[in-house]
């Protein structure tokens, strides 16, 4: 810690490193308390629409942060989110529905036993969604990472497509194209943001550990990482399975937020959206993933108007469905061409950098006045 302490020491005030840690802890606690108050206020005062957006933001942060772990931190290009969200959503939904609800929903063919008789609580179902998705990820990882992971993108992409077919045709489990309806809307601000914060916490801890360093070393130079004794297969598998676990849980949250799921919800477009989020936020930065997810989810709502008819100054605009996706794609291309490191680059949030930023802005304003 010695040199860290010295560096921080030199750029900030004559306090000891311990003071810095204490200050950061206090700031973190204050921010957390402030956020709790905000959630509590939002929960009872915001419109249903706003609350839904807040929930969406939390869920997409979960997915973006875990997706960034394999894509940005470990550097293995993967196209998994739609597939893993689907696995998680279906798992959780099938588990929370009561036997009577299942009987009513599955009109084409009844749900196979024993799934038809099972009914679990929401938290247990979420956990199961995470575990099942992690297991699926493990089964995919073994063959892919055994032969140097270059096929990961193709395999995950293909897996997503195969899942579409399965979801549409394995009627006794998924209810086919009809999907699963009438789920209880368990997902509220507490659940979504609770799990969001838990995901960020776990990811940051992992990334800052020796395992995280090993992941980054693989991203930087896989052969050199192996030459330092790092088992690339294990490390990549760890990153992939870890991210799948949280994506599965996010799928469960999503299902119980929108209360109706069907195969059409989990197309490749979903993955494309996630990719835009992590690239715009800054590939390799957890902070960037959070910002990207929040920005794109919120921006998607704000930009809704471009797909709706409006008349402005006597002009009538019909609105073009899918226009938002065009805007986001253009944004992605722009970032890829002119601002490759996105908003955060590979930097992470720290209180010190925030304080420095505020000082700088204040200094500018003073200087300008």
């Amino acid at each position: 810690m010695g040199y860290d302490a010295l560096r921080v020491f030199s750029v900030f005030s004559p306090e000891s490193w311990i003071h810095m840690v204490t200050r950061d802890r206090i700031l973190t606690c204050l921010a957390a308390a402030g956020f709790l108050v905000f959630l509590w206020y939002a929960d009872s005062n915001f419109s249903e629409y706003s609350i839904r957006i807040l929930n969406n933001i939390a869920i997409f942060i979960v997915v973006a942060v875990s997706y960034n772990l394999i894509n940005g931190i470990t550097g293995q290009f993967s196209l998994q989110p739609n597939a893993f969200l689907a696995v998680g959503a279906y798992t959780a939904a099938i588990l929370t529905l009561t036997p009577e609800e299942k009987l009513r929903s599955f009109i084409l063919e009844p749900l196979i036993w024993p799934l038809s008789d099972i009914s679990l609580s929401f938290p247990v179902s979420l956990l199961a969604a995470g575990v099942v998705t992690a297991l699926v990820a493990f089964l995919l990882a073994v063959p892919v990472f055994r032969v140097r992971g270059d096929y990961l993108a193709i395999v995950t992409l293909g897996f997503g497509e195969v899942l579409q077919v399965i979801a549409n045709n394995l009627v006794p489990v998924t209810n086919g194209p009809l999907g699963l309806k009438g789920l209880t809307p368990y997902t509220n601000l507490w659940w979504s943001w609770g799990i969001c914060i838990l995901t960020i916490f776990c990811t940051v801890r992992l990334v800052n550990s020796s395992y995280g360093r090993a992941m980054k070393a693989i991203r930087e130079d896989e052969t050199a990482a192996q030459a330092m004794g790092i088992d690339a297969f294990r490390t990549k598998t760890l990153a992939f399975v870890f991210s799948a676990f949280f994506e599965g849980i996010a799928g469960g949250l999503l299902a119980h937020l929108i209360t109706t799921i069907s195969p059409s919800l989990f197309t490749f477009m979903l993955t494309f959206n996630l990719l835009i989020m992590i690239v715009i936020g800054g590939l390799g930065s957890t902070t960037g993933a959070v910002i990207g997810a929040a920005l794109i989810t919120w921006g998607g709502e704000v930009l809704r108007f471009v797909e709706e008819p409006i008349s402005l100054f006597g002009y009538y605009y019909e609105g073009i469905p899918g226009m938002r996706m065009v805007i986001f794609s253009a944004l992605l291309i722009f970032v890829m061409l002119f601002a490759r490191s996105g908003i955060m680059g590979r930097n992470e949030f720290s209180w010190q950098s925030l304080i420095d930023l505020v000082n700088k802005v204040v200094g500018r304003l003073r200087g300008g006045a």
Binding site: Y3, S209, Y211, R213, K216, A224, A227, M228, R346
Partner: protein
């Protein structure tokens, strides 16, 4: 006679028709610094790559501490005690200098990912140990002042030293250096030689060394193997090598 720490027997590597290495016999006795020299394209780097599992061995075997490690995956070779540096510097450029070194201590980590996330068990003790070890290695290599800088931002000579520091963090029995003083000026080269001798003694290391700087090689190596076009042509002490007509011919033929 004691068995050598590393013993490559009749090692051959073929790259799609091109025979890069042809029947190399190469021994590194415990505690020595053995040089591997030869003209450009002679197959020196290929020999190190074959030993460390980066290049596929076509024929022959590699014995380390008497154990056959031929064809082992690179990471397993590293964990068994062979660390190396790269001729074309291969650092983790976007990580900091100290992180580069800490990566090589990953194999000594005793905590699980779950413990890392929960912050329990040996996490803090291990992280402290790894960081201290990295700091002391950086201190040794004279890089401690740059510990927080991005590895990619270091000047060339420092990057070479960082490669050595990183390799040492593996706590290897055998250190393979591929042109460690390439790009260094004469003063840096002399300093590096002294440092290498000190490290060898302090850490009880055995070293294999590829280098074009003949002054450096003759000065530091206890024994030298010469190869040309993948074929071993001489083996002996620096003095014997310098006077070997085959060696002189190989080097003159090149120029």
């Amino acid at each position: 006679m004691k068995i050598p720490l590393l013993n490559a027997e009749k090692l051959s590597v073929v790259f799609g028709g091109l025979s890069a290495l042809n029947g190399l016999d190469f021994q590194i006795p415990v505690g020595e610094i053995v040089g591997l020299i030869g003209p450009n394209g002679a197959g020196k780097t290929t020999a190190f790559n074959a030993i460390t599992g980066i290049a596929k061995v076509t024929r022959g075997r590699v014995l380390f501490e008497g154990r056959d490690i031929t064809g082992w995956p690179t990471s397993k070779v590293a964990r068994t005690g062979i660390a190396r540096t790269f001729q074309n510097i291969r650092l983790y450029e976007d990580l900091t200098v100290i992180e580069n070194v800490m990566v090589a201590s990953h194999t000594s980590v005793r905590y699980s990912p779950v413990e890392a996330i929960l912050g329990i068990g040996r996490v803090y003790a291990d992280e402290r140990r790894i960081r201290h070890r990295a700091e002391s290695l950086l201190e040794t290599m004279g890089l401690i002042d740059t510990a927080g800088d991005k590895a990619g931002s270091l000047p060339y000579g420092s990057q070479r030293k960082l490669e050595v520091a990183r390799a040492l963090a593996l706590e290897p029995a055998l250190l393979l250096l591929d042109e460690p003083v390439a790009g260094m000026n004469p003063r840096e080269t002399i300093e590096f030689g002294a440092l290498l001798r000190k490290i060898r003694k302090d850490l009880n290391l055995t070293i294999g060394l590829i280098e074009h700087d003949m002054g450096f090689v003759m000065d530091i190596c206890t024994r030298i193997r010469v190869i040309d076009h993948g074929i071993p042509i001489a083996w002996g002490t620096p003095k014997e090598i310098q006077n070997d007509p085959k060696v002189i011919a190989a080097y003159l033929g090149e120029g």
